[in-house]
Symmetry: C2
Subunit: 344 residues, 2 copies
Amino acid sequence: MRILIDGMGGDHAPQEIVKGAIQAAREIDDTVVIIGAEDLIKAELDVQKWNGSNIEVVNATEVITNNESPAMAVRKKKDSTINRGMKMVKEGEADVFISGGSTGALLAAGLLGLGRIKGIKRPAIAAFFPQIGKDDTTLLLDCGANVDCRPEFLYQFGVMGSIFVQNVKGKESPDVRLLNVGAESEKGDELHKEAYEQLANSSINFQGNIEGREVVSGVCDVVVADGFSGNIFLKSSEGLALSIMGRLKEVLMGGTISKIAALLLAKQLKGMKKDFDYSEEGGAPILGLKGPVLKIHGSSKAYAVYNAILKARDYVESDVTGQIEKAIAESDEISSGEAVKTEA
Amino acid sequence: MRILIDGMGGDHAPQEIVKGAIQAAREIDDTVVIIGAEDLIKAELDVQKWNGSNIEVVNATEVITNNESPAMAVRKKKDSTINRGMKMVKEGEADVFISGGSTGALLAAGLLGLGRIKGIKRPAIAAFFPQIGKDDTTLLLDCGANVDCRPEFLYQFGVMGSIFVQNVKGKESPDVRLLNVGAESEKGDELHKEAYEQLANSSINFQGNIEGREVVSGVCDVVVADGFSGNIFLKSSEGLALSIMGRLKEVLMGGTISKIAALLLAKQLKGMKKDFDYSEEGGAPILGLKGPVLKIHGSSKAYAVYNAILKARDYVESDVTGQIEKAIAESDEISSGEAVKTEA
């Protein structure tokens, strides 16, 4: 397998990307391909004393930053890591593309370079997040690819999420819910009321609305959200978990007695920290594209990169893209358009 | 002062309401008025062995539940605690009304019975939540009163929030931000892009967008949100904080050594729990109504009720309603409508 990673994407590129790639390459037989400024990446490989054979470097001369318009940048910067990465997946030169670069650019380049699965109106970013106190995760989609949604997008996110969890986790009939401001079916704005209807009329195991406070306790497998509130949910949860763990650390380091207590608790607290550590979860797939693409956090450090590369292998092996394509074609769930309104 | 509380609103009414009312009445000279089924409430006062003189009971024969359409119920149930409560505030029989009942019904009854402050298009629910590790709070509005928003609503929420924090906390020029999916001005859906423009053109101290992950660290005084994502933010933060504290408790009670450590840390952990305890914060005012109305959580127990009653006194004394009315009339910020579009 050839796992392609964007060497220039994210706040700590290329150093942390290269570091994470080396960590992963030392553990696996697959080839890790790093795309970006060849000289910088090779220099970093030297700094990190890499002497193995399963890392390749592919040169790309341009980088798309977070500060430019994604659509414009994707059209203009043909030799950017993001455009080239999508092209390599399309042409079979890589089995999966991982990037910590601009989400908007990844989407634009994905749509342009790879295209959508037939029948899918909008790709969605899907992320697993930890269920607190349980050894399991919940899939949230969309995490922010589509800030302006229509009801049929949410319905399709539910179908894709259900297929994804079935294939990756082997769950027979994943429990799918809609992130909303109340549990009752009539709750929410027009978008969510209409999406509720479409999800309820579909063949997936839709179990109704879920409120923000229930999600982390792990009552369901898939949470469908519009990209705006999904993004608010994900980022505020991340921020809060980090703040609380930071505060706990302060409390534990606050005095001699606390420090002793902290030593006594070291093992358990480490386990707890892992519960809330989003970097454990690997990259977030962009579901609906005609090829495996994983988005990692812009703030990803080596450990998150390493994790994303390992998880990417499972993602490729479970052939989620192919399974979504197949399930949609077979079930006519999306292609027949029973519950789907046509675009205006 | 006469502080009116809905004896029938919430999951634990009337028992916990009465219990909290007694706790508060023992500490203050003001009169606590409980409205609801007189026989039930009086029986509960007897059970709790109340023998003071500053609790009054006002009989109301109907209750609006969470399961009925708010607008319908408010029109039909004239003698409900919520309708009667608003009327008592309007007619000066109470200085503030506190309720843990249906948010929708409180809003509908508030609009019908009390009315809006001149110039305000939509009232908003405003809640203070704790800044982690700091002895301060941030105001979030709207927390869920308006799930379908227009840009000018968000702009008005910013103005009201700014005035509120100025009056209650004495901050000269509160730092106001817009809850959005990215920090840059061009981020978000159409609603938030347009709201950004209007806020940026206003006279309040608008400092741009804020992402979900930054809010709890206390970078600003006021966070403006549409009611849908504001509600998602608030509930998911509450849920996560509770889950994490629950998990911590499990960890600390998990074995003999952990229990010893927990004893050593007891004081610090209690302080930390307080950081995340939303019941410390009192009720959430519905800003924009022509009178003080505080919404408390439906799940409120005695301590939250007690707290809401004490905080309600400060709220009445700082005359937020009057200050908003005055500030709007004086500044022409809202009434002149420079940045405000007329309704369609």
